[in-house]
Amino acid sequence: MLRESARTLFERAGSAGRSRMLRDAEGGWDADMVRELAEAGVFGVTVPEENGGLGMGLAAGGVIAEEVGRVIAPEPVVMTVGLSLGLLRRLCPHHALMEKIINGETVLAAAWQERGPNGGPAEASCRYADGKLTGGKAWIVGASGAQGFLVVAEGDAGPVLVLAEATADALSIDKRTQADGSSMGELSFSSTPAEQLAEGPAVRDALNEAISDATALTAAELVGVSDSAFEITLEYIKTREQFDKPIGSFQIIQHRAVDLNVMREVAQAGVREVLAQMDSETDPKRRAKLASRAKARAATAAKKITRDAIQLHGAVGYTDEFDIGLYLNRALVLSAWLGDDAYHRRIWFDAREEEGAVQ
């Protein structure tokens, strides 16, 4: 039901073709589409009903994320469901922002990571004191379209969650274009005014939970990317002829296609199982481990499927004109965000070791 309505909504809007047009325009998302998604209840899917959501859990969020992935939609669905609402519904479920986000009136991006001197991730040092932020944040997805930023910073008494408006004074946003045309931002604060929303250890806990949610939902989005990339490629090898035959009649092509399909099915089954289990699991460490399992699988599969898809298309696969390249690029971006497969296997293994040591 949820799957059908999400699919219909995206198909009516123009599927991957719409995503291409948006990429060619500005690389952002379509505000009308954000409102339509909101009307369908998409953003509040995991928010409890008493806080204005559908109260359906992460598995339902995964269904939507898969559909987003299928049409490589640029709208900030996973980011909103997983991160911004993931943080707010845990820390301040009655805040007026909740309703505005669920209704699609506003989009907030989450900012918690920081870049170190060698370019890689570093310990957080961004400070919040006297209503002002100082420091910087990195790897912020949705930085160009968001109306504001949910920033996790160090306050006087531990971590705080604050809201900085995108138009705030003394806030500079450095945007980098990603492979799929979306932009990722780096924020610099120099006494930037921001409103405190929550403080204390609960902020750290909520952040970790929100990251687990977003990681698993990204895995679901990658499953959708893999599904479409595979279907497009299957259609192509059935119709493209060489040596007077469809190339899909050659056994080497057939076996490669089968292997990609098996990989896709394993990823879909694994990720869906994880999302269902995360809904009934309350221990944050086990939820994080599950999310890592999902992302590791989904990224491995999506990378392999989209790259082989290019090979199976041959030269036209390397052109921008064919949609298959859009899927390759989205897979690149989603794999890198929140940790790739190698990273998550490491995290998953360490968590498994820790569980083993406890038992």
């Binding site: 056994q251 092509i253 057939q254 089968v258 399909n261 089954a269 190698a342 296997r345 490491r346 998953w348």
Partner: protein, 383 residues
């Protein structure tokens, strides 16, 4: 008679597990080789007395009458406790064939003898020129008075040297437009002058496979099962349940447990490269199990499985092989040594696992054949 299907899955699982744990002989757990019947006879007697020899057969023929869901549980528990399948060709293949296509006389005569293991069966399908291309088989059966006279050769016949009877696909009409036609299903006694069995020594040094030569061997005409020249369709009909069973996660899961305890003992986890490859293998097993559950749920809802179930076999057998290869890697300089390797207080026979994994991608329809099937039946690719 108990209708097992009325129990909840959990109750049934408890019942099966309880019986295996209480009654299965300890010395037969996780046998590394296929036993001759004499070695497991004492277990078969118990199983027969319990009425559990044939879990899939309908109760009216002496089986447990399990539905697909319960059957899956039965096999899962069997594998979990390392219960040997016994000499089950009669149970798995001949019985269902006779129940489905046999005459009343055939049912009355053969089925009780299969259950009691008075007859021990082997399967004569493959031939030197008919492996993946099974329909290419050439072993002939020609009518001669009251008998069929059989000439030809079967190969990879598992445990033929310990079997009293063979069920076989034979060519009864050599002049058909398609080679799938003209094939019949025949039962024949092994104990006769025209049948010669030679064992084949495998890479692991075992002799469970045989060649069987037929030189004017005879079998009565009433041992034809089903219609003459319709054997191919019948053989295919038998394979439907086997296709999920052969893709079950247990072989890879058990190997992973072995790998972990061995690698831990050997300190292989100190190496980050090994850790990553272990994590990959472990996740491959977990995610395969998720896909397996999806198919198992289909069976539980009473649906028929499609050709797509073949993907389970491809994934799990190749995963099983990678796991055993990691075991060899963890063994370091012992990686070429035959027999159990002692690590702490566990013994792991690294090469035995490795060898056990190799034929899994060949038997039951090689993985390449499975890919052909998926390509045509599931992806709809031409040619």
């Amino acid at each position: 008679m108990t209708d097992w299907n009325t129990l909840s899955d959990a109750e049934f699982r408890k019942e099966v597990r309880g019986f295996f744990e209480a009654e299965y002989p300890e010395e037969l757990r996780n046998l590394p080789h296929r036993p001759k019947f004499a070695e497991i006879e004492h277990w078969h007697v118990k199983l027969h007395a319990k009425g559990w020899v044939a879990p899939a057969w309908p109760a009216e023929f002496g089986g447990m009458g399990l539905n697909a869901a319960k059957l899956l549980i039965f096999y899962e528990e069997q594998q979990r406790w390392g219960v040997n399948r016994g000499r089950d060709m009669g149970i798995q293949m001949v019985g269902p064939l006779i129940i489905k296509f046999g005459t009343q006389d055939q049912k009355d005569y053969w089925l009780p003898r299969i259950l009691s293991c008075e007859d021990i069966w082997c399967q004569g399908y493959s031939e030197p020129g008919a492996g993946s291309d099974l329909a290419n088989l050439r072993t002939r059966a020609e009518a001669d008075g009251k008998d069929f006279v059989i000439n030809g050769q079967k190969i990879w016949t598992t445990m033929a040297h310990d079997a009293s009877h063979i069920f076989m696909l034979v060519r009864t009409d050599p002049d058909t437009p398609k080679k799938q036609q003209g094939i019949s299903f025949l039962l024949a006694p092994m104990d006769q002058a025209g049948v010669d069995v030679r064992t084949i020594t495998t890479l692991s040094g075992e002799t469970e496979f045989c060649e069987v030569f037929f030189d004017n061997a005879r079998t009565p005409k009433e041992n034809l099962v089903g219609e003459l020249n319709k054997g191919w369709t019948m053989a295919k009909a038998l394979l439907s349940f086997e296709r999920i069973f052969i893709g079950s996660p247990s072989l890879a899961q058990n190997a992973l447990v072995q790998l972990e305890s061995f690698a831990r003992g050997r300190g292989a986890f100190d190496d980050p490269v090994f850790r990553d490859r272990f994590a990959q293998a472990a996740l491959d097993v977990e995610d395969h199990a998720a896909l397996y559950s999806r198919f198992a749920d289909q069976l539980k809802r009473g649906e028929t499985l499609g050709a797509d179930v073949s993907m389970l076999k491809i994934w799990v057998t190749e995963c099983f092989q990678r796991i055993t290869e990691l075991m060899i890697e963890a063994a370091g300089p012992d990686g070429g040594t035959i027999g159990p390797l002692q690590v702490g207080n566990v013994n792991v026979d690294v090469l035995a696992s490795f060898y056990k994994a190799r034929p899994t991608t060949i038997y039951g329809g090689s993985n390449e054949i499975q890919r052909n099937i998926l390509s045509k039946a599931v992806l709809g690719l031409p040619g």
